[in-house]
Symmetry: C2
Subunit: 375 residues, 2 copies
């Protein structure tokens, strides 16, 4: 398996990844502690989609002492948003709602530009706008959310980035990210830029504000060096909570915007979404007879993962689906139809919210509202 901030491929062993990255598992005790604040446990916690963390205990310690935390997450605007992107955003919104947390949402248009072939920012800027509509459609509270685009709002980031950069050597970024002599100096500097929003809640308010980063596990290397630098700048180390990737509809691997047939985009029509689902790889057998006899394998099946991650919230229902799959009672075609019947209304609703978001973009942008969010 390969898991870096730029590439995720192979069969991902999340336990091994957490061990390698040195993160902590989300234990039942810690989940119980979260539940005391949230009432019920969010599906993505119950099901281990968010599965690992750093310093979540400390975030709760501080919260219980009356010190609220801020949330920080981000998006590299290199193309359309697919359902895999939306998964952690939905969880982030849940955290915002329950903990009344401010959210700093970073659009890393500079990173995407540096890694791609384009010679102009036009594409990055277009995708930034399109992706912001998707972010707003999730339902974040505009009063408690600010969206920061690196190139458009660099004046809010650069001084802290320079301070952070002063404590990051080429040795470090080489070791953490595998940078080489042939890496361009923009990419080399970028980890400093990505560290900044973790410090902004404290920097902007002038007091120590704990920061929690909900994000997919592949971004962890950035937070490792951010955490190393934090005390040197007088900021608390950001805590993290890490999620798994929603697999693509093809055979294995993360969903990717670069393989459009394996990803359902938020802007896909009902017809396209249905076609993609009906063409999906599954954990089924070669023939109906075989499947009726031996059952199928949900653990390698993207259709099952779609249900499990997002579209079948009821635990009893998903367990029944799993049993029916494994026993051979449910065939893949039927199972795909179940998913289609849930994805289509989800997309309709999402697209309506996305359309409505066009009138509310300014309420979220750093260039319109600055960085001051309520206490």
């Amino acid at each position: 398996m390969i898991v870096t901030p730029w590439e995720v491929s192979g069969k991902i062993d999340y336990e091994k990844l957490a061990r390698e990255f040195g993160t902590e598992p989300l234990t039942p005790e810690l989940l119980d502690r979260v539940k005391r604040h949230t009432g019920t446990l969010h599906t993505q916690l119950r099901r281990g989609i968010f599965f690992s963390h750093r310093d979540l205990n400390w975030i709760l310690d501080e919260y219980e002492k009356g010190r609220k935390f801020a949330l920080y997450t981000g998006r590299g605007p290199s193309g359309p948003v697919h359902i895999g992107h939306v998964v952690p955003w939905i969880f982030t919104k849940h955290l915002q709602d329950v903990f009344k947390a401010n959210l700093f949402f970073q659009m890393t248009d500079d990173e995407k530009f540096l890694f791609r072939q384009e010679t102009d920012f036009e594409d990055s800027h277009r995708w930034t706008y399109e992706n912001i509509l998707d972010i707003i459609a999730v339902g974040f509270d505009p009063k408690r959310t600010v969206i920061i685009s690196d190139t458009k709002n660099i004046q809010h980031l650069y001084e802290i980035a320079i301070k952070a950069a002063k404590h990051m050597t080429f040795s470090t970024v080489k070791a953490v990210f595998g940078f080489q002599d042939s890496t361009n100096i923009g990419i080399i500097f970028f980890p400093a830029i990505q560290s900044v929003p973790a410090f902004l809640p404290s920097a902007v308010s002038g007091k120590t504000v704990p920061c929690l980063i909900p994000a997919a596990i592949d971004q962890d290397p950035y937070w490792r060096i951010t955490r190393d630098v934090a005390p040197k700048l007088g900021f608390p180390k950001p805590a993290q909570i890490h999620c798994q990737f929603l697999p693509g509809l093809g055979k294995g691997g993360k969903m990717s915007a670069s393989m459009p047939e394996t990803a359902i985009f938020t802007t896909d029509t009902a017809e396209i979404a249905e076609r993609k689902i009906m063409n999906a790889f599954t954990g089924g057998r070669a023939t109906v007879e075989e499947q009726r006899k031996l059952g199928a394998n949900p653990d390698i099946c993207p259709v099952y993962y779609y249900e499990y991650f997002l579209f079948m919230d009821d635990d009893k229902e998903i367990e029944q689906l799993r049993r029916d799959c494994m026993s051979g009672r449910l065939l893949c075609g039927e199972c795909k139809q179940i998913l289609v019947r849930r994805v289509i209304p989800f997309l309709h609703e999402y697209q309506a919210k996305r359309e409505k978001a066009k009138d509310h973009v300014d309420e979220f942008l750093a260039e319109k509202k600055g960085l001051n969010l309520p206490e």
Copy 2:
């Protein structure tokens, strides 16, 4: 000799430096061509203080075709301004006046912060303000001049910096600047930031504007990589004209703000300036008798260089001084007194202009006026 953007020491052989850097000498023919536009030849050109260039011919070609060029120079605000800094600024003002050229003046407060021990920008910001007063005191035309501070005006620089950075690898900056694995990633990225003002005249106006950089020769490595990147971004390669360093008042070496007794600051009182000059190293002999008999050596004498660079504009007068020095007619004490009598009124006048500049800062700042200068 060591000549890098961060260190200049040893006896500097400018011819060798130009050969090593691959720059062109300012030939009599080229100076004649300049003179056709400027009427008289500026002291700093007549005396070879500006001694080398890249593409100055092309700048004049374009100018003669009716295409005006912009000027770009800069200052790293790490401490007080001394007379050595003012030398190329006076020449830059001359170019601005004669060619009605727009000037982009960059304050590299980020660079200075990245190279120094301070943990905060407070010092950089204070020196930026103080140094801006010195720059304005030179007499630049506020209508044709904009001062850009990297951290305060980063929104004008960052996108182009990222575009430039995409074409600069760690290999390149390692080879050009001697960066190592232990170099911090802010310093590694900085050459991209320093390249930007060379492109701004074109980027802001939306058409191709030639750019001429008057600066000390130690900054040349920055322009070499800036020139390599320029065509990839669709900008013309910036031309340069390089000056020598005014030596410090101690024995050998460039004047340095870090050795305050060897540098006359623009803010020095008459008493302090006089003391520094009277304590200066000279090319004199051990005894008066010996000097009367054998003469002194102006070519190693900072007092002579002060006269030659700035304080004795009349060629006949400086030649007479040189002859009197070499013949033993003029003793070092008398020669120092001649310099003192010129430096003191210069400082008085400079300090008055510097004081007046406080009311005009806003007329120069990018954050107040933007980057649009007249055609």
